[in-house]
Subunit: 264 residues, 2 copies
C-alpha cells in the first residue's frame, strides 16, 4: 500500500484457513489486508496463537476492522481445543480489538449454534418446498461443544457492541468447500459429524441446501465489513433452492445478494 | 439418611454460598443433600474446585440431581475468574453429571444474561405499571462477561438436554440478600455494578422489583427439582409489584408460586 491508499486496514485472523484463503484471494483489492496466522506463511503475516493474549496487540494496532476466522473449525472438536481456540481465543480477539480501538469485528459464527433444529428436522427438512426455515432469532440449540463456543462468541460480540460501541457482525456460515464445486460428489458427501446418519442421497441434498460459493462467501464478508449495520447475526449461504436457513436478515441488514446457487 | 429414606440425593455445588445456605437450611428435609464446596466446612462436604475436573467424580457418584450454584457470583467479575469458575467450572459440572448418569441439573443462571435491556430501560422500567416485561425468550444481551458466562451455561445445559436426555432447568435468579429483608435500607441500596448510576430512590425501586425471598428461592429450586419439565429457562423473583421479569414460565413450566413480595 502507499500513502494515497484509501482502503481500510482489515486484519484477518485464521488467514491460512479455507475461508481466510477465500478472503485473501478475493478481497485483497478492496481492503488493505493484514494476516494473523498460527504458523509462518509464504505471505506476510503476524504469527500468533490467539489463545495467548500478549502476542496479539501488535497485529491489531492501526486496524479498522477485524475478520475473525481463527479457531477450531470442526463441529466434532473436543472440549480442550474448543476452550482454548474458540472460547479463550475469541475473547482475546475481541479484547485486543477493543483495546486497539477497532471499530468493527466480523465474527465467523456457525449454523451449529442451533444445529439441533436441523438434526430434529432431517432429512425431510432438505426437501424442495419444505416450509421450515430458521434464522438467528431461533432460540439457541447447539449440536456440539463447538456450537456452544459459537454462541459464546456471539454473546461476547453483543457485549462489545452494547458496552463499547463496536460494530459486530456474526456470520453463521454454511458449507464452504476447497473445490468450490457443488456438483462434485466428494463435496456433496462430506457432512458434519452430527449428521453422519444421513445416507448418500440425503447428504447430497443437505450440502445443496447449505452450500456457500467462494464468490458469495467473499461478497458476504465484504457486505459485513461495509454495511451501515452495527449489529447482526445472519446466515451465509448461496441462493440454494433447498435452503432452510433464512437469508432475509443478510439481505436486509447487510445488502447481501448471492450470485450463485447449488444445483437443485 | 437410612435405608428406608426415599428422598432423592441432590448434590449442591457452591453449598457454602448465600443461595447454597438457603438450600441447606430449607430443603434438607425434602432431599438427601450432599454439599460440594471450595473449602472445608463445619458440615460434611466434598471439597473440590469445580475448575479441576478430576476432583469432581466422587461427589457425583449416586446423585439423582445437581443444583449447580458454584462460581463467581458478582457481575463485575473479571475475565480470568469468569473463565475459570463460571465457564470451565460449569462445563466440568455438566460433564461430571453426564458421566455419573445424573438425570437432572438445576443451573443458577442470572438475569445479567440479558441485563442490557434493563440498563437501557432504567430507571423508568422500575415504575409501577410500566408495561415492559422480559423473559428467557428475549435475545441475548449480556451486560458483563459474567452475563456472557451465564449464557454459556444455559447453552451447554441445552446441549446436555438435547444430546444426552438430561433434564436441565436454568434459573435466572433475582436479588437474594443475606438479611432477607426487603424493607432494610442496606438491602435496598445494594445494586449490581452496571446499575451504579441509579440514585438512592431508583436503587430502592430496582431492588423491590427484583427481590427474591429466601423462602421463595428455596421453593423455586424445589420446583425445578420436582417438576416434570425437562428443559426451561425461567426467572426467579418474589411476587413483586414492580417486577419487569416474567414469572409466567416459572409458573407454567415449574409450578412455582411465590409466597412473598417486596413492599411496593
Amino acid at each position: 500500500m502507499n500513502a494515497s491508499d484509501n482502503r481500510r486496514t482489515v486484519l484477518v485472523t485464521g488467514a491460512e484457513g479455507l475461508i481466510g484463503t477465500v478472503v485473501r484471494e478475493r478481497l485483497g483489492d478492496r481492503y488493505d489486508l493484514r494476516a494473523l496466522t498460527l504458523t509462518p506463511q509464504p505471505y506476510p503475516s503476524y504469527v500468533a496463537d490467539i489463545a495467548e493474549y500478549d502476542a496479539l496487540p501488535p497485529a491489531f494496532a492501526g486496524v479498522d476492522a477485524v475478520v475473525h476466522l481463527a479457531g477450531s473449525p470442526a463441529v466434532e472438536t473436543p472440549w480442550e481445543p474448543v476452550l482454548r481456540n474458540n472460547i479463550i481465543g475469541t475473547r482475546n480477539v475481541f479484547e485486543a480489538a477493543r483495546e486497539a480501538g477497532v471499530q468493527r469485528v466480523v465474527f465467523a459464527s456457525s449454523n451449529h449454534a442451533i444445529g439441533m433444529y436441523e438434526i430434529d428436522g432431517a432429512p425431510s427438512i432438505y426437501a424442495l418446498g419444505d416450509p421450515r426455515v430458521y434464522d438467528a432469532h431461533a432460540e439457541p440449540r447447539p449440536d456440539s461443544l463447538y456450537g456452544v463456543s459459537k454462541l459464546f462468541g456471539e454473546a461476547i460480540g453483543r457485549l462489545h457492541h452494547d458496552l463499547h460501541g463496536m460494530a459486530v457482525i456474526c456470520l453463521r456460515i454454511g458449507t464452504v468447500r476447497p473445490d468450490d464445486d457443488p456438483a462434485s460428489e466428494a463435496t456433496l458427501q462430506a457432512i458434519p459429524e452430527p449428521l453422519a446418519f444421513l445416507n448418500p442421497k440425503q447428504r447430497r441434498e443437505r450440502t445443496r441446501a447449505t452450500w456457500l460459493s467462494h464468490r458469495d462467501c467473499a461478497n458476504l464478508i465484504a457486505c459485513a465489513l461495509d454495511a451501515p449495520a452495527d449489529w447482526a447475526i445472519v446466515y451465509g449461504i448461496s441462493n440454494n433452492s433447498r435452503q432452510f436457513w433464512s437469508l432475509d436478515d443478510a439481505r436486509a441488514l447487510l445488502g447481501y445478494a448471492p450470485n450463485d446457487a447449488a444445483p437443485i
